[in-house]
Symmetry: C2
């Protein structure tokens, strides 16, 4: 069976190529197809056999990012317990994908026409947590769920970049993002 031989002889794992591409493009968003190939340990020709072009590669990375986010959302069990705790779990689960997310976040700002189709479901699921927190009296209602969702993406990306630049310790990632998003910079009143 051709499928059998394909599976067995394919020396390079498509998913593995995708991972290394994500790792490289996270650090250098403008990396060349040739650099991506070398980073994956394959030739440019083989890379092009897996992904028709740069657009296809980026779209594949987008799918990967969306999938990892969906998985993180699932693991975070957003509907359980207090919304604040749900958010903490979400950021903790999403941290491993933060670099990839930051790359895709920056990439999306380059496209005038919002190609947001793959992200719509994700946005909705996240915004739902904020809505739940607001309705339960846990979150303030003067910050719209849409903005809170956007701010979450922004803080994750910012912290990922700051981490890569050495301005934030990797071990503090979750704490910095979640505590700022939930509690803000002000000290809580010692009531």
């Amino acid at each position: 069976m051709s499928h059998m031989s394909y599976t067995r002889l394919m020396a390079v794992d498509r998913d593995q190529v995708l991972r290394s591409a994500a790792a490289l493009l996270t650090r250098r968003p403008t990396a060349t197809m040739d650099e991506v190939a070398r980073a994956a340990g394959i030739s440019r020709a083989t890379l092009h056999r897996h992904f028709a072009g740069r657009d296809a590669l980026v779209r594949a990375l987008e799918s990967l990012g969306v999938a990892e986010c969906e998985a993180a959302l699932d693991r975070a069990r957003l509907d359980d317990g207090p919304a604040g705790d749900a958010l903490r779990r979400l950021v903790r689960e999403i941290e491993p994908a933060a670099g990839l997310l930051a790359f895709l976040y920056g990439e999306n700002q380059l496209w005038e026409d919002g190609g947001d189709e793959p992200w719509a479901r994700l946005d909705t699921r996240i915004a739902t947590v904020f809505v739940r927190g607001q309705q339960g009296g846990e979150f303030r209602i003067d910050l719209s769920p849409v903005w809170l969702t956007e701010a979450l993406y922004g803080l994750v990306a910012s912290c990922a970049w700051a981490t890569q630049a050495g301005r934030v310790a990797p071990k503090d990632f979750t704490h910095m993002v979640v505590e700022l998003l939930l509690g803000g910079a002000l000290r809580r009143e010692e009531a």
Copy 2:
């Protein structure tokens, strides 16, 4: 005097070109030099007479952004009164430059080697406010001033993009940024 004639005959104002370039690149970061020229109402040749190349243009925009930020910091009187109020004034004063800042913020993430020279002084001035707030017991101390500074940039850029995408009302810009940065999503205890 050649200087006289230069000043009087120069139909296009260099600063005006810079402004329109900022406005365009804020919306479409990948805009062509030709598009930038047309947006400024001049030809590509004239644009190139003012700025040696795209790099020079971007660097000029960076200088403009830094200058506007410095001016905003001055107007905000960061050393006066409670640090929280200083932050509110800062975001309010910086809002007009938010689009340009967002463009430059995204642009900086594309360059592997941090060309942070122009921003260092700015970062320091902003971080100083957070330090002051922490020392005065106004801000929590588990979020580093460096991260808070980075988060401020990130939230400003995120809100600028969200505003452009129609996900946040322009009139809410300052409130959304400053309230999230200072207070976070959680409701304050009704102590």
